[in-house]
């Protein structure tokens, strides 16, 4: 008993900071946020209970919200698969014995290294400007220049391109996964006369599937919460015509520009539910396509 008490004391001394931090900065805010989501609250007057009004308004009376949700889905479901595809292709190209691989790995990772910064968002904004490099390149191959900031769809794609450009960290994870596949599998397949694509679909993809699952989950969650590029590229407006009004940006504007704290809290809860659903869908479908070595092959 004596030692037990002592052990508990030591344990809580060490994890104490986490417990205190969790209570103060996570659980109290979660409870408060849940409460605010059923209120009308402007930060200056005390919250007024309005029940499900915020949620009802979101889905029936706020076309901007539905639009923001829609473009965020486009952003996530176009951006994440393309980013993973690029990451996988490049990782496979780099999974050779060439001595230059170290250098290439660094070069391909660089965009991801700086990708979250304001500087890169500023750079991106200008590269896609009316007189920017992208339009000059388009004109030189005979395509009409795109008014990236005039057209909402083009502006959203500009953000998607930016997210695809940062495929470096997924690539590094894929590369580590590829290196762990025993070379003997490929050799055996070659002896049996398997083609490149046969090897790809029956060895590489199944062996890599746990890593693909991990990347898909992490990237989907991360993409859903994208804020900085949309904020900088549109100068905080989400324009043109709300074309870059990603979910996090609209939530931020509702909370800190219009002081609709209750509404923004409700938005945050819907976001949490959507992320939970997306993650569980990925995990639930994963048993059909993720292969774990320990199961003895499925």
């Amino acid at each position: 008993m004596q030692t037990n008490m002592k052990q508990n004391l030591w344990g809580y001394l060490f994890i104490g900071p986490f417990v205190i931090g969790f209570l103060a900065f996570t659980i109290i805010p979660i409870v408060a946020s849940f409460y605010f989501s059923f209120t009308s609250y402007d930060l200056f007057n005390s919250p007024r209970w309005i029940g499900l009004q915020n949620f009802k308004e979101m889905f029936t009376a706020d076309p901007r919200y539905l639009h923001s949700l829609k473009i965020t889905f486009i952003y996530v479901f176009a951006g994440v698969p393309l980013r993973l595809l690029f990451a996988l292709i490049v990782a496979m190209l780099l999974n050779t014995a060439s001595r230059a691989v170290g250098l290439y790995r660094t070069l391909y990772y660089l965009p991801s290294l700086i990708g979250g910064s304001v500087a890169v968002a500023i750079m991106w904004r200008n590269i896609f400007g009316d007189e920017g490099v992208v339009n000059i390149a388009l004109m030189s191959i005979g395509i009409d220049p795109v008014r990236w900031f005039g057209d909402p769809t083009a502006a959203l794609w500009m953000l998607i391109f930016l997210s695809i450009w940062q495929f470096g960290s997924s690539m590094l994870i894929f590369l580590a996964g590829l290196k762990s596949i025993p070379q003997s599998y490929y050799e055996a397949a070659s002896v049996d006369g398997a083609s490149f694509f046969q090897k790809f679909f029956s060895i590489t993809i199944p062996m890599l599937s746990p890593v693909i699952l991990f990347n898909a989950v992490m990237q989907t969650i991360g993409a859903f919460m994208t804020f900085v590029p949309a904020f900088i590229i549109s100068k905080g407006t989400g324009g043109p015509l709300d074309g870059t009004l990603l979910y996090s940006l609209y939530l931020f504007k509702q909370g800190f520009e219009f002081f609709h704290m209750g509404y923004a809290s409700a938005m945050a809860w819907v976001m949490l539910v959507i992320i939970a659903i997306l993650t569980s869908i990925i995990f639930m479908t994963s048993r059909f396509w993720v292969h774990y070595e320990s199961e003895g092959g499925k």
Binding site: F25, I28, A100, Y109, I114, G132, L272
Partner: protein, 279 residues
């Protein structure tokens, strides 16, 4: 040429060429910072600055109003340093507790920690803001720095995984030699987890240096602005003439990021490959 060499050449042309294409925007940013402002977009398709000027850096460094860019860099450095200290101390203590100590409720708190990993910041953002406003911490670094001293779930998890690979026999030997629990943490574990602490430090640096949302929420007087906020401000009061200055300071804001990367490349790459830290 032998077919083997031709194949190799084609490989390097494709892989190298694609790398150049990807890095072109960065090169464009750096080169534009040496162009005269009014020529940046006229010569957008050419990388080489003609004439080559350094004046953008001087103009950008002056910042705006009474505050030079040096102020913003100092502010950011203080912010990053405090968060770094907070993460290194708190995460290593907490991780040691989870990985090595037996106590009632350990499983429960560990599960809670893993769950907070998945929690979007947006859910806690507004109440946190209200709490810090009530504490009268707005327009100071406190809301951005104090939480760092209570651990960060991702780094705690990373360190727990790392500590679990260290043989327990070392702890037992230390106990026999008369070490108490804190002594084991301090003398045995801490020196052995330096590589994992380095990963923690590097990614803390990146995330804090680039952080925009936190400073935008909590800081409102220009004397306290961070580099990210200053760049954002350049963008919002842009006039035709200060493009060059904005590009120049964008480049300056990226220099520490590159320098840290090239010094600690090995840790960065390993940190991502093994733990999936986003980059």
């Amino acid at each position: 040429m032998k077919p083997k060499h031709v194949k190799k050449l084609i490989y390097h042309v494709i892989v190298g060429g694609f790398a150049i294409l990807l890095l072109y925007p960065v090169a464009w940013l750096v080169m534009s910072s040496f162009k005269k402002s009014e020529r940046i977009f006229v010569t957008a398709d050419s990388l080489l600055p003609d004439p080559f000027v350094l004046s953008n850096y001087g103009q950008g460094w002056e910042g705006f109003g009474d505050y030079g860019f040096g102020t913003f860099i100092t502010n950011t450095a203080v912010f990053v340093a405090l968060v770094l200290i907070g993460h290194l101390i708190s995460c290593s203590l907490i991780a040691f507790g989870f990985a090595r100590l037996k106590f009632a409720g350990r499983g429960f708190w560990f599960a809670i920690m893993i769950m907070t990993l998945m929690l979007p910041y947006e859910v806690v953002m507004i109440p946190q803001y209200i709490i810090f406003a009530k504490l009268e911490w707005l327009n100071s670094l406190k809301p951005l720095v104090v939480p760092a001293f209570f651990g960060h779930p991702f780094f705690i998890f990373l360190l727990v995984q790392f500590i679990r690979t260290i043989p327990r026999e070392l702890d037992e030997a230390a106990i026999i030699d008369g070490c108490n629990t804190f002594g084991i943490y301090r003398r045995i574990i801490l020196p052995l987890i330096v590589p994992a602490l380095a990963t923690t430090a590097i990614f803390t640096f990146y995330w804090t240096w680039d952080n925009l949302l936190g400073p935008v929420l909590y800081l409102n007087s220009p004397s306290k602005y961070t580099v990210s906020m200053a760049l954002n401000m350049f963008l919002s009061n842009e006039t035709v003439s200060n493009w060059g200055a904005m590009f120049a300071m964008s480049v300056v804001s990226l220099i520490p990021v590159f320098v840290i990367f090239f010094i600690f490349q090995r840790y960065v790459v390993e940190g991502i490959s093994t733990s999936g830290l986003k980059g």
